[in-house]
Amino acid sequence: MSNIDLSVTIASLKLRNPIMLASGTVGYGNEIAEFIDLNKIGAIVTKSLSLKPRKGNAPQRITETPAGMLNAIGLANVGVEVFLKEKIPFLKKYDVPLICNIAASSVEEYVECTRMLNEEETIKAFEINVSCPNVKDGGLQFGNNLTAVGKVTEKVRAVTNKPLIIKLSPNVSYIHEFAQVVKDSGGDAVSAINTLVGTAFNIFTRRPKIQNVFAGLSGPAIKPIALAKVLEIHQKVDIPIIGIGGIMNWKDVVEFIIVGASAVQIGTLNFIDPTAPIKILKDLENYCKQMKINSVSELTGSYII
């Protein structure tokens, strides 16, 4: 056993380490559990759940781009009810904090989902996805609109005492304004960032490579942007930040923490190397040893500018 303290705290949420698995990149945990011991992970965030099951977009849903990928899954998910009945039992077997990510097309639906999930004690926190660019009736207008983000935060806050994390859209000029609204409306933390709006076309058919036309860009390509968003929030708003975007290895994790993240989420990397989250933990510990850092939480926002 090592004597480095990797644990972190986000509002009242205590995690054994800062490595979380990002929404939409681990399903409900079943498949990735074949590669890693979920009990070693900081937290797992579910695929965005909506009130009713969603079939998602027709194919093609994904394509690769330079150092990144575009996706427009269309929030395919089993819906809150099936999740509670069929997915929670598997997750109950593990001692890993479960964070439910919720996506909806109206404030009422966000509130209703939260209410239905709130009783389930396995769920340790909520992450509200106001920023999915692929759902036409929801998504964009919420995430890029200060008033809407404030309202969702406030109304969801009213129905749960569990830690409330708002996952922010990067497709805005000044993300710290959104973090400020979240704070002012009773949110406990923000996740930054969700995917950036992008597209790709086949030059021979002249058709979009993704059936939905517009899609979300993730992967290492977006890391510099994500880091800038986290730093911007950290410099301007006093709220815990979960850093997300293009993490490929432990160095990226440290970089996010230095610019202000209390914890991080690993997304696209899970597709490439599902064992990476565990490897990163070891390397993170080694880094702390080498740098003589006793507790990883000391690193948060420790940049020297």
């Binding site: 990149t25 074949e34 849903r61 994904i62 690769e64 899954i73 696209t268 597709f271 490439i272 599902p274």
Partner: protein, 253 residues
């Protein structure tokens, strides 16, 4: 499912532009079944970022074989590997062909690189079943008959074998199998699989096809690879997890 770094032991251009890569990977070789696939990371860099899916082409002892052409960056890098360079393999993935069904004659229908999964299938079936292979391509150079048995070929331009597509060739030959309990195994472009499905359903023939689509993870966590099911319509099947092999009755191709 496991992830292993395995050394390349041989790369052969078995015919113009078609490569066969021999990889030493005993654990994969032991577990994998025909129709399953591997998701391969061809480079340690971010370019290409995602793994690339490849059918298991053949297995021989501790060695596995991939068959591919140079399509884009990933396959280009793969084709340029030197002996003892490694590839990072995630697999075995998917369900593979169902070989427990009741049949005495296996019929392979393959278009272009759709031949890839069939050397392994042929190896496993050849001692117990009759096997007939119908193999097609746009032109002579696209027809891959490597390690297949009882082959008849078809080309769109008539440069080799039957002048027409491989499904037409297969249908033309159907009468000769009248007395057999046949099962068809298909792989190739979607248009071909659609035609094959039509013929098989019309003639009430048991048929499984290996489908293809863009993939990220290959094991069910990204939801990137939907395929429409024939029956239940409130959710898509996943090519990587529920397939890539489907009975033609079960999916809309």
């Amino acid at each position: 499912m496991l992830i292993v770094n395995s050394p390349v032991k041989e790369i052969k251009e078995i015919q113009k532009d078609i490569f066969l890569q021999k990889i030493y990977s005993p654990v994969i070789a032991k577990q994998i079944k025909p129709g399953q696939f591997l998701n391969i990371r061809v480079s340690e860099t971010v370019s290409p970022l995602l793994r690339r899916p490849f059918s298991i082409c053949d297995v021989d002892g501790d060695y596995i074989f991939l068959m591919f052409n140079i399509f884009g960056e990933g396959t280009k890098i793969l084709s340029h590997k030197h002996i003892d360079d490694t590839v990072d393999i995630l697999g075995p993935l998917g369900n593979g062909f169902n070989l427990t069904n009741d049949f005495d004659t296996a019929i392979i229908v393959a278009g272009g690189l759709g031949s890839a999964p069939f050397p392994f299938l042929t190896r496993l079936l050849k001692d117990k079943f009759d096997i007939y292979s119908f193999v097609g391509g746009r032109s002579k150079n696209d027809v891959i008959t490597y390690n297949l048995l009882n082959v008849q070929t078809a080309t769109d331009d008539g440069s080799l074998g039957f002048n027409g597509n491989v499904v037409q060739l297969f249908e033309k030959n159907l009468p000769s199998f009248k007395s057999k309990k046949i099962k068809v195994f298909g792989c190739g472009p979607n248009a071909m699989l659609r035609a094959l499905k039509e013929v098989c359903i019309a003639h009430n023939i048991n048929c499984e096809v290996s489908t293809e689509c863009a993939m990220a993870c290959g094991f069910g966590i990204c939801q990137g690879c939907p395929i429409e099911a024939t029956e239940q319509s409130d959710k898509y099947l996943l090519v990587c997890k529920d397939g890539p092999v489907f009975n033609v009755k079960d999916v809309i191709i």
